[in-house]
């Protein structure tokens, strides 16, 4: 799902980043956001609606709409579309509203 060839942009092979999604190891690239890395791995369903539990992907990709909120390293409601992916991140599907957490 990565763009291989492009007439204007060049997406050189960058350093790989390893992270987990629901415990499953996945690979992203340096420069990815969490959402772009998941999408490149074929994961489109990022959250669910609070009441009807309908599947949700991202919508705006620029941090506005909250459709991509997930649990990252134990922290809920992380806007995965604008949060840079980092080595060893634990990304989890968020069921419903987030919970109060301690840092």
């Amino acid at each position: 799902m990565r763009v291989n060839q492009h007439p204007i942009l060049s997406f050189d092979t960058k350093e790989e980043i390893t992270f987990t999604f629901n415990g499953k190891p996945m690979k992203g690239m340096m420069g990815d956001t969490i959402a772009s890395a998941l999408h490149a791995n074929g994961v489109k369903k990022l959250s669910e609606s609070i009441h009807l539990k309908r599947p949700r992907g991202f919508y705006c990709a620029i941090g506005n709409c909250a459709s991509c909120n997930m649990i990252v390293d134990g922290k809920p409601n992380v806007r995965t579309c604008i949060t840079p992916l980092k080595e060893g991140m634990r990304v989890e599907f968020q069921h419903g509203k987030g919970h109060v957490y301690e840092t």
Partner: protein, 367 residues
Amino acid sequence: MERGMYMRHKEAVIIGAGPAGLKAAKSLCEAGASVTIIDRNKDLGGQLTKQTHKFFGSEKQYASVRGIEILKILLNDLLEYGTQCEILNETSVVGLYHDKVIACVKDDKFFKIKAESIIIATGASEKSIPFENNDLPGIYAAGAVQTLMNQYGVKPGDKVLMVGSGNIGLIVSYQLMQAGVEVVKLVEAAPSISGYLVHASKIQRLGVDILTQTSIKRAIGKEQVEKVELWNLDETWQGMEGSEQTLEVDTVCISVGLAPLTELLMQVGAEVMYVRELGGNVPKIDHRYQTTVKGVYACGDVCGIEEASSAMVEGALSGIHAAFDLGYTIDDEKRKVKALKEELKFLRSGPHAAKIRAGYNKLGVMI
């Protein structure tokens, strides 16, 4: 979440580092003011970060230069001011108070900034339209897909339906093809294409069907989009039973316009007014880009949906006015302001800008 122990004092704070915010920063720095730019993203530039197309507009606003190249110029302009221009990226403004106190969160830390002058350049967000299953994964705003492809190098899917024939819909369709994604069809509810014909012809030449008076009836799929159903619209914009056709696509791009992000303006107590032609609620600004709250200015798409070219001019103007109000003398101020205003007038002169002119007229702003 930790609490910052103190209130930071800053002279001029710009919220939003898109084309308007970056130009405002430059004007303020030039005048000698200390500037803090806040943006929630890691990379500055707002939507310029993904705009691989060449700009229209005027030469002074970088016509025929690609958005991503314009961004490099704007950032480079600010570099020469060094620490005079502080950048707080990956920082979200979570509250804005009447006394110009800005509540921020960065790296899970909460802190407050007391500003003498604030420029709000928060831009806009993409709208959606109602249809059955419009919340399925695989249905994305067109600009979101542009971000995914052009900024992160990830394809949204293999087969795309584009909804809306404004310039964003047309340009993103072309950019999808550049990234190696098939655009199966483009539908437009109106009887004619609404963006520039030069962009429409470009994708038609590459074999994309543009269907006018057609809309999406519903998306089909369990966990994500698998198919869509289109239908024709009659003269009253109602869907016609019996005209349905099914398309196999895994992605739907929604490009049906933008709405200004005025939440912070409302929080700070600035008066806003609903102006349909400008995309929704917009601040009541005076001819110097000041809102109804003294010392709070607004520029760019948050004042009304336009092109990035106009956002840059508005940014430059609001920066000059904010600097003046802070007590700085600007070399050749009158001539600079006049030249920028003429620039803006030119950018808003064509038939495509009729709506924008009508909008500002309603708002009572001289353009």
